[in-house]
């Protein structure tokens, strides 16, 4: 019942919001409030998870922090609202959150019919399958008749049905909303297969296997069955706020491309390179164009780090997950991450 109540309340809120979605309205509200309200996943190691002190950390969280640093000059003016895959769009549509950084796949439907906008891609992902090693399965093509654990209301759920249809196989879904409950169902053996984005599979395998089982007991199958470009979303109607989110993401990539890190950013202020001078606001103009402080990139990199630092710390070599950077390398290193120039 609580789900209905929540949805009904949100529906009512939509009805009552006399809202005029003028440009800049969301940004004004954020500034007046003194904090960005950021919708994050309820707990995916590496992307958004509350650590032992209750502090949110992860790749998704760093987007929220970067936006906060750009607007307020401080990265910690963020209120985090954990949202399940089913709550997230309604929460953003109704104004409960300003920004959704929720491992959300960009699709045409979501960009249009939902009344939402994507900014930039934080992570190039793809959907995969994880199984218990004991089953002896080597390929997703051998999964005919399997019971599959999957989160409802996701592109994952649709890709799964498409993949099995395309390969003339059948499956039984077990669909539970809370990601913790899905994992529990998978690890207890209720399902043969757990499917979601490969990054989340790696996170689950690294951080959530209940003892006495170990991560080595589970294997992620080689097939990647979909493109899942993950990125943050904002509401239609405030283009300035959307620009700030988009360029906060690009700033982190630009910083990596030009070798600006949280460690050396102070020395970089003295750099003679005109591009770096422009990025860090030594040559003014960029901040004014975006409607934020001229030192916005400095603040982001100093407090949050560049994209590479963020990646390495949360999902890369310095984390439990140790996911290979793969296609998420910068374009200069043969990856897909390519930020338009800050000029």
């Amino acid at each position: 019942m609580t789900k209905i109540a929540l949805a009904a309340a949100i529906g009512l809120a939509t009805m009552l919001a006399s809202g005029s979605a003028l440009a800049g309205k969301d940004l004004d509200a954020i500034k007046a409030r003194g904090a960005v309200i950021c919708g994050v996943p309820t707990g995916i190691a590496g992307f958004a998870v509350a650590d032992s002190q209750g502090k949110w950390v992860g790749l998704d969280v760093d987007v929220c922090r970067a936006v906060s640093a750009a607007i307020f000059g401080e990265s910690d003016k963020v209120k985090y609202v954990p949202l399940t895959s089913q709550q997230r769009f309604t929460a953003l549509q109704s104004g409960e959150v300003d920004l959704l950084s929720n491992n959300t796949t960009i699709t045409l439907q979501r960009d249009t019919a939902l009344g939402l906008d994507f900014t930039a891609i934080t992570y190039y992902d793809g959907q995969g399958f994880m199984v218990n090693k004991k089953l002896g399965v080597k390929s997703a093509k051998e999964l005919n008749g399997a019971t599959v654990c999957v989160a409802p209301g996701t592109t994952t759920e649709l890709n799964l049905a498409d993949y099995f249809r395309a390969n003339k196989m059948s499956f039984k879904p077990v669909v539970i909303e809370k990601v913790e409950e899905i994992r529990a169902a998978f690890f207890s053996g209720r399902c043969d297969v757990y499917t979601t984005d490969v990054s989340s599979l790696a996170a689950t395998r690294a951080a959530n296997v209940p003892p006495p089982a170990t991560p080595e007991d589970f294997v992620v199958l080689p097939e990647i069955i979909s493109k899942e470009p993950l990125g943050p979303m904002v509401r239609h109607g405030d283009n300035q706020f959307a620009d700030i989110v988009r360029w906060a993401q690009y700033a982190m990539m630009e910083a990596e491309e030009y070798g600006i890190t949280s460690k050396n950013v102070d020395e970089m202020l003295k750099s003679e390179n005109p591009t770096i001078k422009r990025i860090l606001g030594v040559t003014p103009g960029m901040g004014k164009a975006l409607g934020v402080d001229e030192k916005w990139v400095y603040n982001i990199v100093k407090q949050v780090g560049n994209y590479g630092e963020s990646y390495d710390k949360h999902v890369g070599p310095n984390s439990l997950l140790k996911i290979d950077r793969g296609v998420n390398k910068l374009w200069t290193q043969g990856g897909l991450q390519y930020a338009p120039p800050i000029r």
Partner: protein, 395 residues
Amino acid sequence: MAVETLGSPTKVKVSPWNDPVIRGWVFQIVVVGLVGLLAYFLVSNTVENLQRQKIASGFHYLEREAGFEIGDTMIAYSPASTYARAILVGMLNTLKVAVLGIIMATILGTLIGVGRLSPNWLLAKICEGYVEMFRNVPLLLWLFLIYKLISEAFPGPRQAINVLNSFFLSNRGLYFPVPLADPIHQWMGVALLIGIVAIFFVKRWAKKRQDATGQPFPTILAGVGLVLGLPIVVWLLGGAPHHMSWPELKGFNFEGGTVIQPEFTALLVGLVLYTSAFVAEIVRSGILALNKGQTEAASALGLSRAHVMRLVLLPQALRIIVPPMTSQYLNITKNSSLAIAIGYPDLVASVNVTINQTGQAIENILIIMAAYLSVSLSISAFMNWYNKRIALRER
């Protein structure tokens, strides 16, 4: 003035402002107008907001392909079916669990309620403990506990508990054989219906005969005979087709036969255990509300304890029991939406996925509300009819 008019039948002229009739009308028109305005404001504002934010609206999406799979379906469904069908599948699943839940909770609750009044100390205490245990813990926790017990305690399908090579119990559910589809099954269904109708007439006839001659007739036994016997006779006449579909371990799971899934079991068991505790209290209060003299008089007539309960106490207690029971039946129906927590694909689950894939929350919430409202109103209407039927007729 008032003193002068007292007791006089003539009409007194009052100003329209003080006329209670006119005043009543004015107030009613104002209230209706305000409600109408509020409704108009809400609807027009919503439509305007949706249009401005470019959020799609309307019910056209119901015709589109749903694209997601559902784990437990009573009618044919595939990802290629429409959203409308996906929602219908969810609706049927909700009805299935609600109807079974209502029947089972009524039976169990009545037994427990009567048990609490038993002179047997142990039985009464056990029933009391049951009521207190189930009614004082939230239903959601019971659902989680039962679901966890099923999925953690039972082995995987390859190590399934095997009973007579035909029943297989595992964390995928209980698999058991079913007869292969045969045209005779339809006729057996017809025979079953005829049997049920026949019981009604037999009961009437038996009552008449007992009133006339005083001889009791074993109605229950005859009823069981009719309901079971008629379909069996039809089956035998049809050549007794006995081909069965047996569950067999193939690959990951069993194939063939049919299955009762853990999610369904957990939800049904949780709903029944929880609601029967309330039903038990309603039944107990209904019986206790009767005058003690009823029991004593019935005993004095020489009726056995079972007869006292069945023929004297329960029929009278029903009048007290039925109205609050209606609320419990509605509760079962509405509480079944907790299914979402343990992954049973009920109406709410189907609609929630649809909301997420289409983004049309308001239309879908309207569908959910309309569906629950119509089911609940049907239950109320039936129970009100039944209540009128058994109500004390004053002559």
